[in-house]
């Protein structure tokens, strides 16, 4: 258990803050788990990598712009360096020549790192599934994916939904490694 400074229960609820608030005269005391606090912090500060390989990238840019604005949910700024990024949104087709580059970018990202497969190409190769010599049939052949969004390309709202779904997954508390270990044992 972890104890914080006095906080009012309404403010805690508004922020989606994890833990219980125990009301005392002159304010409340919140009790929470350190893991929950870390996950809460992580989920609300996910910086995406500037990475787009085709038309889904245009939709991703729209979501970053003022009308949809994923900064509202903590996706703040797209980082041009994988060292500073927490989430990679695979926005577009991955071809055989791009695959090793994507793998290297993913390997260069610092843990904890998350992957969103945006659109039909990133999920399965999409319109390039048949009769092509160059396209990877799904980015999950290269790196593990946390959230998939259908669409060609998906609506900006769908990407926002996927980003919030990723936040929910992180707030539930298990990393992908923990989930994998749990299923093995």
């Amino acid at each position: 258990m972890f104890c914080l400074q006095p906080i009012s229960s309404s403010a805690a609820k508004q922020a989606g803050f994890p833990g219980e608030v125990h009301e005392t005269p002159g304010g409340g005391v919140v009790l929470s788990k350190l893991d929950d606090l870390i996950n809460w912090a992580r989920s609300n500060s996910l910086w995406p990598l500037t990475f787009a390989t085709s038309c889904c990238g245009i939709e991703m840019m729209a979501v970053a712009s003022a009308k949809y604005d994923f900064s509202r949910f903590g996706f703040e700024v797209a980082r041009a360096s994988p060292r500073q990024a927490d989430v990679i949104i695979i926005a577009g087709t991955i071809v055989n020549k791009m695959a090793p580059v994507l793998k290297r970018l993913y390997d260069q990202m610092a843990d904890p790192k998350y992957v969103i497969a945006m659109g039909a190409c990133a999920i399965s190769g999409g319109p390039f599934f048949y009769n092509t010599y160059s396209v990877i049939k799904g980015a999950d052949h290269i790196i593990p994916v946390d959230v998939y969004i259908a669409g060609c390309p998906p609506r900006p709202e769908a990407l926002l939904h996927a980003l919030i779904t990723l936040q929910e997954k992180i707030k539930k508390g298990y990393t992908r490694e923990q989930i994998r270990q749990g299923s093995n044992s």
Binding site: N96, K97, Y130, N131, T132, Y133, K137
Partner: protein, 150 residues
Amino acid sequence: MNNEALHAYLTEQVPDATFDTSGEWLNVQVSVAAFRPLTEKLKKELQFNFLFCLTCVDWKTHLTMVYHLRSTQEGHHLVVKVNLDTQQPQIHTVCDLWRTAEFHEREVYELFGVDFLHHPDLRLLILPDGWEGKNPLRKDFDDPVNMIKL
């Protein structure tokens, strides 16, 4: 120069050329032998100074090279087509007339296997090493490992 004038000029230069006048631009089909002398004339006499598209089509029975030309001075357009043999496709390069063709011909070379004679640097453009002679945009290209057939 309008399409009718171009049509008359080309009939004079290449008597056995065939035409397609149905589109916005005049299409002319010439033989491999007549192609190179014609392109030099188009560049020098008709001021076709801009090759804005160079591509190839696989019709299974034969290949067709397609050259889209434009004159930025005169404002006229022309589409030149040349049929090539599927087994041994060979055509003279145009990259000494239009420098842009150097890359485009390398692309057609790697994807369709067309041999451009007198090209200064005919090698793969985008495909990685080991793709020489595979020609993935040919209709009969097959890759049982990476390709899923519909």
